[in-house]
Symmetry: C2
Subunit: 391 residues, 2 copies
């Protein structure tokens, strides 16, 4: 008998009949003798609809109230999921993040999980009840409702897997697993059967939206077997595990991030550290830093966050220039920092297309090129061919 966490994403839960479809899969697993804990996101576009109502009221809703608003989403999906399982004669109870003891920091809209109390979860499991847990949400020490930010339901699933020492944590979505390259860019993209935590972490950071990076970090720290699986077919998906368990390859995959902006900020007093501190204390996700000289730092952020960035740094900067339509192409694998051939091929491809390049960044498992949007497809398609990622 195994204990399995199954997390279902919003697209997979978009309608009551899709919920019932997934509940049947869970029921089959339970009836086969395994224990299952289900973690759900909000249904379909619910979260976006709730955000849009808030925006009709104010462009700057209080983060506390946004958390209260958005947590209605999983409340709806979890109760409908529980009703479906009960209908299928599998006794189920839904629990909010607060009820199941997901204790977080106080940081509204982007809280971190501090601990899992989980008493009600354990007693439900002991009584043979299948718990349906609201992903994405928790409760702070001061009893305020919090949310974990985008992709937070993955984090909930992995944190519960760690708490329960689950045998497996499965993340279900509308894609078949993790691909060597975004299938929307190259239809020859191949499904990756196995990938190491580290490689997956970088893929996630660098644009593969299948898993949230934080969930991969927690999985690695607690050595949780993590799988990305399809909601709508029976495929095996992608297994994320320790590097020693799998064959290493030079380039495992290519991730791309688009709709970015490169912002050059000039500080009057050359105090880069204080500028960095300002950025760090904001809620902005800074993709990359490029320190050009001691006076200018270049920052890559999502294009629609540029105004937020500017308002958080305006006190500290004398001049600003903005480059829109920036993209990052990242090559992930053990070879990118050790195999001279890999870098050689990438450089040749970049040269062949005369791509504007604003920076190269390399780390143990990743090589990233900051370039302009129009070069993304050309570079990544040609590289996918060169590194045999399609076929």
């Amino acid at each position: 008998m195994a204990l399995i966490i199954k997390k279902f994403g919003g697209t997979s839960l978009a309608t009551p009949s899709l919920i019932m479809h997934l509940a049947k899969r869970v029921a089959a697993e339970v009836k086969s003798g395994n224990k299952v804990v289900v973690v759900v996101s909000a249904m379909g576009k619910t979260t976006n609809e709730l955000i849009s109502m808030a925006k009709q009221i104010t462009n700057q809703p209080e983060e506390r109230e946004m958390d209260m608003l958005l947590t209605a989403g999983e409340r709806i999906s979890m109760s409908l999921f529980s009703m479906s399982l009960n209908f299928l004669n599998v006794k189920a109870y839904s629990f909010t993040g607060s009820q199941v003891g997901i204790i977080t920091t106080e940081e509204h809209t982007n809280a971190k999980i501090l601990s899992v109390k989980g008493e009600r979860l354990l007693s439900a499991l002991n009584e043979g009840i299948t718990p349906i847990i609201a992903g994405f949400q928790g409760v702070s020490g001061s009893k305020e409702v919090t949310t974990l930010g985008r992709g937070g339901s993955d984090t909930t699933a992995v944190a519960l897997a760690a708490f329960l020492k689950a045998d497996l944590c499965e993340i279900y979505s509308d894609v078949d697993g993790v691909f060597t390259i975004d299938p929307r860019i190259n239809s020859g993209a191949r499904l990756i059967n196995q990938i190491s935590y580290e490689e997956m972490l970088i893929m996630a950071h660098m644009g593969s939206k299948v898993l949230h990076p934080r969930s991969v970090e927690i999985a690695e720290r607690y050595n949780i077997r993590l799988a990305v699986k399809p909601s709508f077919n029976e495929g095996d998906g992608t297994m994320i595990t320790n590097a020693e368990n799998i064959e290493s390859v030079s380039v495992r995959g290519i991730s791309t991030r688009q709709n970015l902006a490169l912002v050059n900020l000039k500080t009057p007093d050359s105090n880069i550290v204080s500028l960095m501190k300002k950025l760090n204390s904001s809620n902005l996700n800074i993709e990359l830093f490029i320190t050009k000289t001691s006076e200018i730092i270049s920052v890559v952020v999502e294009q629609d966050k540029v105004n937020d960035l500017l308002s958080c740094t305006e006190d500290a900067c004398t001049s600003v220039s903005i480059n829109n339509d920036i993209a990052i192409v990242s090559f992930i694998g053990t070879g990118v920092s050790t195999d001279k051939d890999v870098l050689g091929k990438i450089l040749s491809i970049t040269e062949k297309y005369s791509a504007d390049v604003f920076g190269f960044f390399t780390d143990k498992l990743v090589l990233s090129i900051v370039t302009k949007q129009p070069y993304v497809e050309k570079i990544s398609n040609e590289a996918a061919k060169a590194f045999q990622l399609i076929g």
Copy 2:
């Protein structure tokens, strides 16, 4: 400085811009120096939409999960209301029923409030924060989320008014107040300026949907000044207060209930008490009992609850007959049990239209006629004229 509870119904909160409209009224009250506690229902048709999703999954969803599902509704409206007030520079915090300590019985979908803990409510008020409270919901002793049944938000408002010893509890809706007769039946219906708790309680029981009866009971018990007011204009509405404060009239108003069924149940063993106990332990709202003989009891229920009634009594009955399209016309006022003229007029009107009458019921403040649907308008319009309720 007064402390005022303001409860807003779902129709009044149907869109973000309607919420903002009401938030402006609350902001004006706060800025005038009063303290306000806001209680909200779910927006517009949210509750019905959630119920319809549950019905797509199963016709008999678990009541525990229904409560979890439906409480998402007020969560959305309260956070949007709080955002609106904050936008208007009135510091506001939203709280769920559980957060604000509405402790209820364990009875899912129809729980009763046992007590109000209210610590977070008090500390918010002390800090000058306007609390926005989810109506309709609470938490049981075993920490399960519960709901108070239809109209439960009125009950939340009045229970909070009692707990806080509020100076006034205002129930806002899309009608101007309590009318002498349903304005959809007679457009000459007059707004009642003042009505006693007892009269209002009977009006509410007998079909006036403006206030939930339980909320009137609590208001009377704790002597809370209760007002029914319009959300969309500045009218004074109806004040519900002690009988000694207001002029008594023979007939204050007429209430009608339609879409009822009269069900005759025959017990084999003449054990009416055990049949009544079965009915009483069900979740059905029984409108009236008519004991015909020692073997048959006639029960009036909502037409769409007849099947529920039959399934709860099937063990105990040998035969059943059902009369659909039943309606009850009730005359409320101090005169109905004391003034022979009142009963005389009502009898003449009933006779004039040759109405089918299945029963007359009278109590201190009410006289009800059980009749068929087609006679409702004729009887009530003619009586409204006779008792000067229109004009």
